[in-house]
Assembly symmetry: C2
Homo-oligomer: 235 residues x 2
DNA sequence: CGGCTGCTTGATCGCTCTCAAATGGGGTGG
DNA sequence: CCACCCCATTTGAGAGCGATCAAGCAGCCG
């Protein structure tokens, strides 16, 4: 608890969408109230059920937010990409985190006390408005996933999930686009609302068709167009 | 377009959660920029794909927000209850409404130009913070529904849907709690991610077990505990 | 090299969708 | 006021997608 925090780079902080359009002095003030923390793979930012009194903005890396039901089913709520806010939904009302945030690979991240951020928002309404925009996007995103889950067959949903991950965490390498963090069949299943068995069968089939190349916790997209054709049901 | 709008009752407006904690003068200003409109059953507030330049707060009634996929599948995104905001997700960025908002019964509703509301938020940050809270709740709600859809069997999902509707639009009458607006099997199916056939079978079964009483576009809950037992899988 | 963890693959079962058709309630127009 | 028609609902039969159960395999780390 008495760790040393590195000094915060205001320019880097300014690139986060939550702080777009703020004045230099506002940014100074925001930075002055933040802690900059690191998490290695599989370490936690917060766990489901803990008192939600912190808000996070991801600087580098990828964070997985997952949720477990009373019956023991786990689902992946989202993958957070650099520049995004997480842990902000229960910001007000002092309630609990509805999910667990884990580092999917090495992460750097800013952290605020939620009360502090609340005050900053009152002083600089632009932050609240930016937050509204981000939350709105998140809402649109989850509604899309909801619609997919309600109306599409498994293969299409998995295709959508893989394409989205490729877009937000894909790295161009020889032969295709590699998803830059360890992604198990189980993760993909929890993200697509199915089981790891079904995901495994689907990926195997895609591999024989030359659409992807995959291995242990590793997925590379070789033929994005082919996947899009599946996702959009163009056959 | 040159309709007459009734004068706005500031006290009534103040009861909407979006404007909680505002000063009297702020409320006056908010009211001064609003229009107060009425919609009868099945009339639209906005339709999917239209330019999103208005934000609404529901005063009285119930609004259904639904969405249709390119393949023609329709789903119900949410039912809006009095005091809630709707149409606010695409507030910024001048994009399009992602769904269609229809009056589920007679509604009264305040309406703002989205630019106007944006300015009001800059002047009175409390509005933006209230909006964040409401959006956060909405996000939590849809995530719960997503989790249900991903992990639960149809009967439990329908039970959850019916219980939620009972809570937000239920009226105590002799014999149970009546859902106060016309609700077809199709609506319930689109809300629960299934087909009207399956919903019909389930409701019939519940009726023979004395859990509900239902008819044409009408559902009354007779035994909430029994439904909760199904929803929570307590058997 | 051994053990663990993640992945693959086969076989089976059943929930739920799909297709099909009949029934009935309610509002409208004559 | 009655008859008709439309639309919501009910009910049946059948098929299939994907979950579940059950082994066996393989990459990776210690």
């Amino acid at each position: 608890m008495s760790e040393k925090y590195p000094k915060i780079d205001v320019d880097h902080l300014a690139s986060a969408r939550l702080f777009q359009g703020l004045s230099a002095e506002a940014l100074e003030k925001v930075a002055g109230n933040a802690k900059y923390i690191k998490r290695d793979i599989n370490e936690y930012f917060f766990r489901q059920g803990e008192l939600a009194d912190k808000v996070f903005v991801l600087g580098e890396g990828q964070v997985k937010v997952s949720k477990i039901t009373p019956e023991g089913h786990q689902i992946v709520a989202r993958y957070v990409k650099p520049g995004d806010v997480f842990g902000c939904v229960p910001l007000f009302g002092g309630s609990k985190y509805p999910g667990t945030a884990t580092a999917a690979n090495s992460c750097f991240c800013w952290k605020w006390d939620s009360k502090t951020l609340y005050k900053l928002m009152e002083t600089f309404p632009k932050i609240a408005i930016n937050a509204l925009e981000l939350l709105g996007e998140e809402l649109a995103h989850i509604r899309n996933r909801y619609t997919e889950l309600a109306t599409e067959r498994v293969e299409r949903r998995v295709a959508h999930s893989v394409l989205r991950l490729g877009k937000q965490a894909g790295k161009e390498i020889a032969g295709g686009v590699l998803i830059e963090f360890p992604l198990s069949r189980q993760d993909l299943a929890e993200l697509s609302g199915t089981t790891l068995h079904t995901v495994s069968r689907i990926l195997s089939e895609w591999e024989t068709r030359g659409l992807i190349e995959s291995g242990r916790q590793r997925v590379m997209i070789k033929d994005p167009q082919g996947l899009i054709a599946i996702a959009e049901d163009l056959l």
